[in-house]
Symmetry: C2
Subunit: 258 residues, 2 copies
Amino acid sequence: MSHVITRPNNNTRNQNRASRPLQVAEAIKNFVVSEALQPGDKLPNEAELIKRFSMAKGTIREAMRILEAQGLVKTRTGPGGGCFVHEVSENRTRALLSNYFYFKHLSITDIYQIRKKLEPELVSNLAGKLTREDIAELETIMEEYKTPPQNKEEDRIHHEASLRFHSKLAEYAKNHLLGFIIGFIAETLSEMTTNRRLFDYPNLQLWREGREFQLNLLKAIKSGDSKKASEIMTNHMSFAEKLMQQQEFKVERRFSDF
Amino acid sequence: MSHVITRPNNNTRNQNRASRPLQVAEAIKNFVVSEALQPGDKLPNEAELIKRFSMAKGTIREAMRILEAQGLVKTRTGPGGGCFVHEVSENRTRALLSNYFYFKHLSITDIYQIRKKLEPELVSNLAGKLTREDIAELETIMEEYKTPPQNKEEDRIHHEASLRFHSKLAEYAKNHLLGFIIGFIAETLSEMTTNRRLFDYPNLQLWREGREFQLNLLKAIKSGDSKKASEIMTNHMSFAEKLMQQQEFKVERRFSDF
DNA sequence: ATCTATTTGTACGTATGTATT
DNA sequence: AAATACATACGTACAAATAGA
């Protein structure tokens, strides 16, 4: 017997019960699970839900906004429109997670403690597993790194390209949890360092190390040398951490949009 | 000049613009950031927002539901009530993150790859840093572990207590990112294993190892021996992973409630 | 290209619930 | 206990978007 959407009976009075929209949202989530609905599947439409729950239009709509805010559904107007189950996107999840860290404060040390442990692990997994296309994508990013930076602007572009390089590696992770964490960290660093105090002149040492790192890493990955890849990443992480520490980043706090 | 809440002007027509409630929600988030509002600070009330945005009550309310779903605000009724900035709770964030992994699928191997790297790191940080009260809390959890399990039910209780032990350690992390990840994983495992296929009889070997682990770890932490603590955790992780692999867990997929 | 049917989105007035004073 | 100041819920009417004829 499958789960049925109905109005929860609140005979009990005056207690800490959830608001009606929240109740509706939870009921719909249970419905999705019990019916094993997949992304793209259609939920009952507004009119139908109003009937099933015996609640007002506004209440049902607020419930939909809750589910939408969580990224679990998308709605479309028009014929054939309605409310559809939606796979929660990585971007949205990252944004929600940054909201959590808006009031906490992460230091460079905190972030690099994780990076130093996980990124070597990641490249160790990837060694020998990337397709020609994957490699090509990484090489495209490296193109941006080809020449030494001539000015501050190029310095900034290089810095962001280097974080994109790490994000791209994260995308290839078979371990989705590992990939998500590393991707999240790369984005966080990218946001933190957008407004960073740049060196007074382009940093050639940084450029050289970064380029060498990418070249060596790619070579190790191509040749399937896990141990080597891991080592290269470990060394790079130590270098990057030291550099970031020196630069006294101005951490920009903000909420990410969706 | 600070950011001001006003109605976004959508002169443009018929394009992929965000829905009004979403626009309002984003505007309010920007307002919070620009005014540097802190948890507990009050947002303008419904009537006020209706005026400022020149939008209907329902639209404003839907926007509030979005922010509430993200855990960024809480509303209270009554005089002195209204909408208040709220620090996003860890539980809520964990729930949102599990939604993301609802459609991805994490294996025991995936999860333990992270655990094996991060949990030793955590206890290494904690060694010598815990207060008498912290230790006491951990010992309370260990109480549940004191006697060998007599039946399946006790076996289950022990298993959950052991995950709570890890969660508790995560709470003490100074590195909030590290703490969050470990706490999230512990909760995920706890959910995954609620319905696990238990052994036909209480597992004494598991109990013995678990208890020994907790005792030894606590000793190392008390004495401030980071290296020892890390080692003990590493060994325990290997043991736990092997055990989990053997048990062919039935992974229960569901959305977490709030 | 226009109309039509369908479905969500917006607006608003009213009534009710809830917590503080 | 009553008044007050809010949020919550309801129901209707109409606007906007979109697929298909």
